[in-house]
């Protein structure tokens, strides 16, 4: 790809833990009498970014834009279609199954739905302890003690150890999910919408837990969310996804203060402001997100873009550095987008 050198270099010069290069994940659509592949859902279509050790990369976008697929594919929970993922310089997709299992403890994931992601027939002590035993991070003798420690660290009283997932509240379950991931002492955790299923007050607790753990242990996060304010709070760098591609990446500050892509601008204009009297100038996008099985030509966003021109329908804009590692994939990056809706909240 021609934009290889211009790939977001927001953290150039720093110690890179994970590097995603032109990652693609297509899901085949089967149809017809013999279940032949009749097309592909391009869930992730050429995504590149890197995350520095100990930092948080926030990935935002609408539902169905492929952000969860990015998280799962880069952990090789799905097999890739193309591209590469380097974890500490090693290509994850080049590892044998056995080697991959050995690397798994270093990269963990926290899922959106904390209930369905816990085995209903295992007590949480078993659920947290099982991978520790498998990867010989503890012995049968001290597994209980270690599990208790992790649980306390995640704000769960250790006497809950014998309980089953259904006996906990949503927030507690997410703490279990985090404790489970943390038990393996990972360097990298993909947080796949970890707070989207929780109450706002519980969301804050979980976010604080995640930031505390990062400070203490130097863990690197990929934080996936559709909630712009949560991502703003936790992230050092942010990527905005639309229909399987990154449209804008940059440091949290640059992206939120000075969004360059019209899609980012529209998203930010939709975020609620905690002031009931504030006048809001919103950029409303018309229409629905197009089907990833049949994405629009040229710039995928041109069908909904308020400033689209002729070129947008024919030429794919590349993600280019617009200064200080702030990258944008738009033919008119930084162009002013006039609000088309003005009202009091």
């Amino acid at each position: 790809m021609s934009h290889e050198e211009k790939r977001p270099a927001a953290n150039a010069g720093q110690d890179t833990l994970i590097e995603v290069q032109d990652l693609k994940k297509y899901f085949p659509i089967k149809g017809g009498l013999f279940r032949k592949t009749v097309g592909y859902v391009k869930a992730v279509d050429g995504v590149s970014f890197s995350i520095a050790r100990g930092k948080t990369f926030g990935l935002v976008g609408e539902s169905g834009c492929g952000k969860s697929t990015v998280g799962r594919t880069l952990l090789r929970l799905y097999e890739k279609t193309d591209g590469s993922v380097l974890f500490e310089g090693e290509d994850i997709f080049a590892l044998s199954r056995k080697h991959l299992r050995a690397v798994r403890p270093q990269m963990q994931i926290v899922f959106q739905d904390p209930y369905s992601s816990l085995n209903p027939r295992m007590s949480i002590g078993q659920a947290i302890g099982e991978p520790m035993l498998t990867h010989r991070l503890c012995t049968k003798g001290d597994v209980r003690k270690k599990v208790s420690q992790i649980m306390e660290e995640c704000g769960l009283p250790s006497y809950y150890i014998e309980r089953y997932p259904h006996e906990f509240s949503g927030g507690q379950r997410q703490r279990i999910g985090i404790a489970r991931a943390l038990a393996l002492n990972p360097k990298f955790i993909v947080c796949d919408e970890p707070v989207s299923a929780l109450d706002v007050s519980i969301q804050a607790q979980i976010i604080n837990l995640l930031t505390d753990l990062q400070r203490e242990r130097g863990i690197t996060y990929l934080f996936i969310s559709h909630d712009l304010s949560v991502v703003e709070h936790i992230s050092d760098y942010v990527g905005v996804m639309y229909l399987g591609s990154l449209v804008e990446t940059g440091s949290q500050e640059a992206l939120y203060q000075n969004p360059l892509h019209p899609y980012t601008k529209a998203l930010l204009s939709a975020a609620p402001v905690p002031d009931p009297h504030a006048k809001r100038n919103r950029i409303l996008l018309s229409g629905d997100i197009p089907s990833p099985a049949n994405p629009p030509s040229g710039c995928k966003f041109h069908t909904r873009c308020p400033i689209a021109q002729e070129i947008c329908a024919s030429q794919v804009p590349q993600l280019v550095d617009c200064g200080d590692g702030h990258c944008c994939a738009c033919h008119f990056a930084g162009a002013e987008v006039k609000p088309n809706s003005q009202r009091e909240q």
């Binding site: 279940r35 799962r72 952990l75 929970l77 199954r97 991959l100 299992r101 050995a102 690397v103 798994r104 403890p105 963990q108 994931i109 899922f111 739905d113 369905s116 992601s117 816990l118 085995n119 209903p120 027939r121 295992m122 007590s123 099982e130 991978p131 498998t134 990867h135 089953y164 259904h166 489970r180 393996l184």
Partner: protein
């Protein structure tokens, strides 16, 4: 737990009472009775009436029901009109033959269905899965009498490998091992028929349960933990998939004792299913009603057992 059991057992009493009313009245209201069934053309009308009075068949149905019920609660279901002994002892005599047949068939059914179901689910749409599905559909759609007759034609008549019917060779009077071998050869075909026709449905059941579990988030979690595929499938997935299968097994247990009417009849196997079939044909209503009540009790106990197993297998369910 004890409270739960007592309450469930007490709930069975009104249920059984209701079942007995329906079964007794339906049977009694059918035209014809045991006397009509074996009437001799030389008998006079008076003799027939006298016989009917003797068997208590001329009383109004409610009166007959109350008389029957008073005896039934003392576990006396009357005498069989064809075997001329108490219904309970007829059931006891033939039940165990059926039990041996059904138990072996049931175990074979599980041994066939569960592994194929698991492999079908873990390799969905593969050649193994397709073959398993074809096998299952064959089992589901072939009636046992057809498969039974087909087996008899092939293995007993054409190839002459196996005895045609019965449970042992008449007049052979084998002893010791020779006797068991003889019984085994007689059991082989009915066992195969019974297990093949039921394994198909069971296999589809296991496959569905397994497929549902495999796509759960916690299976993805298990993979993310870096567990081996074996542990993911057999420890995490299978244990959860087995919850509905265990319930299914609980429901199937009564059928072990109640016999397989059609298969036993086809193979002339002296089991309780064949006895019940003959009881209907010969209008041996005391035996037929007794057998039906026996099956009703077994079914209710099977439901209770399924509930207990369900709670034992799934920590989310508590018995209260």
């Amino acid at each position: 737990m004890a409270k739960f059991l007592v309450r469930r057992l007490l709930q069975m009493i009104p249920l059984l009472l209701g079942i007995s009313i329906i079964v007794f009245f339906l049977t009694a209201m059918m035209p014809g009775d045991a006397v009509d069934a074996k009437v001799n053309p030389n008998m006079t009308q008076e003799q027939i009436l006298h016989l009917k009075e003797m068997y208590g068949l001329t009383d109004p149905i409610p009166v007959r029901y109350v008389k029957w019920l008073v005896n039934a609660v003392q576990l006396d279901f009357g005498d069989s009109l064809t075997y001329l002994k108490p219904v309970t002892s007829v059931i006891n005599d033939y039940m165990w033959n059926s039990f041996i047949l059904s138990l072996i068939a049931f175990i074979l059914q599980l041994v066939i269905a569960i592994p194929i179901g698991i492999v079908s689910a873990t390799r969905q749409y593969s050649a193994v899965d397709t073959a398993g599905t074809v096998f299952a559909l064959l089992g589901i759609s072939l009636p046992s009498f057809f498969l039974g007759l087909l087996f008899q034609k092939i293995f007993a008549i054409d190839l002459q490998w196996l005895p045609l019917s019965g449970m042992s060779t008449a007049g052979a009077n084998y002893t010791g091992f020779a006797h068991y071998w003889d019984v085994f050869l007689h059991l082989l075909m009915p066992i195969l028929v019974l297990s093949l026709v039921s394994a198909g449905a069971m296999m589809r059941y296991v496959r569905t349960a397994m497929l549902e579990v495999i796509h759960q988030d916690y299976i993805r979690t298990a993979r993310a933990k870096g567990l081996s595929e074996k542990v993911v499938i057999y420890k995490h997935a299978l244990r959860n998939a087995m919850i509905p299968v265990i319930t299914y097994i609980g429901f199937s247990l009564p059928t072990l004792f109640s016999g397989a009417m059609i298969t036993e009849k086809v193979f002339g196997f002296p089991g309780i299913g064949k006895v019940a079939y003959d009881a209907i044909i010969k209008r041996d209503y005391p035996l037929y009603i007794g057998f039906t009540m026996f099956v009703a009790v077994l079914t209710l106990l099977g439901n209770l057992l399924a509930d207990i197993l369900y709670a034992a297998a799934d920590p989310r369910i508590k018995m209260e």
